[in-house]
Symmetry: C2
Subunit: 143 residues, 2 copies
DNA sequence: AGAAATAAAGAGTGTCAACTCTTTTTGTTG
DNA sequence: CAACAAAAAGAGTTGACACTCTTTATTTCT
């Protein structure tokens, strides 16, 4: 459904929301170790997130990533759009090109309902909501 | 979400249910042209479906694929299992390995609800139900 | 029996996501 | 300012999926 990149990005941003605020920064090293994500691959993803302003970063010794004003308010579909592009939002379950409500494939209605439901939930959930769940011990970012 | 192979397989089986019964057979040529699916690739997929008994085939002149007693009763998850394996049924949205109800990722509950809903629908829908929709002109297999 | 048609089988190719490694740039700190 | 630490950038590798091409096996028809 979603790419691995999306999972990595979401987990990383959530981790930074928890541990990278009030002047604290999270290094790439620490981030990749804590979340068990390949170091260099995560670097590229973080680059992209910084470029889009989802998180901020500073270079140099004691540098790293940290949450900005936008970070906590970012909704999951924002991140999905960055990592997976816009295609996820419209593709047909059977891969038929001109599949739409007026010219539906046999699965169109059921699939659209399911997919749009998921996207709607993800459009309402913010990163800080996820962070809350993790802090309270209800949900987990690793393993 | 699902592989192209799944879409190809489902469309092919539905087409055969409509056009390959009562002694009629559908050749690979005809099938791939009607559904606009790459010829040789579809051949491999059909092989697999025949091996699993979803459809039958005969070689030689005027050979081709045709529906058997099982074909119409096949449910969509049967085909999904053949083309995409069992992983689809259990994977985590964020790619976390030991993600489950007792140790959930932040999206687990929402995603499981959505995914299981879709799979449940697909476990109840048979190929002949799809064929009905196509025959009545409500849904389409091409383009 | 021989030719032709057709599915089956298998090897080969392209592309992309996922991952690794190396180099460069930027900023900090002593 | 020199050394160093960390992110940024970019080239390289791998594996899986999607697709193509060629060869073989099987059946039918003349």
């Amino acid at each position: 459904m979603f790419s691995k990149t999306f999972g990595y990005a979401l987990r990383a941003v959530t981790f930074i929301t928890i541990h990278g605020n009030d002047g604290n920064k999270v290094g790439l090293q620490e981030l990749s170790q804590a979340l068990e994500i390949p170091h260099h691959f995560l670097g590229k993803i973080m680059q992209d997130l910084v470029r889009h302003g989802v998180v901020d970063s500073v270079k140099g010794p004691h540098g790293g990533f940290y949450a900005n004003a936008k970070t906590g308010k970012t909704v999951l579909t924002d991140i999905l759009r960055i990592t997976d592009g816009n295609l996820v939002f419209s593709q047909c379950a059977l891969g038929i090109k001109r599949c739409n409500a007026a010219h539906p494939c046999p699965l169109h209605d059921d699939f659209a309902l399911c997919r749009d439901g998921m996207l709607q939930i993800m459009a309402q959930k913010t990163v800080s909501m996820l962070a809350e769940g993790v802090v309270s011990g209800d949900t987990f970012l690793v393993r």
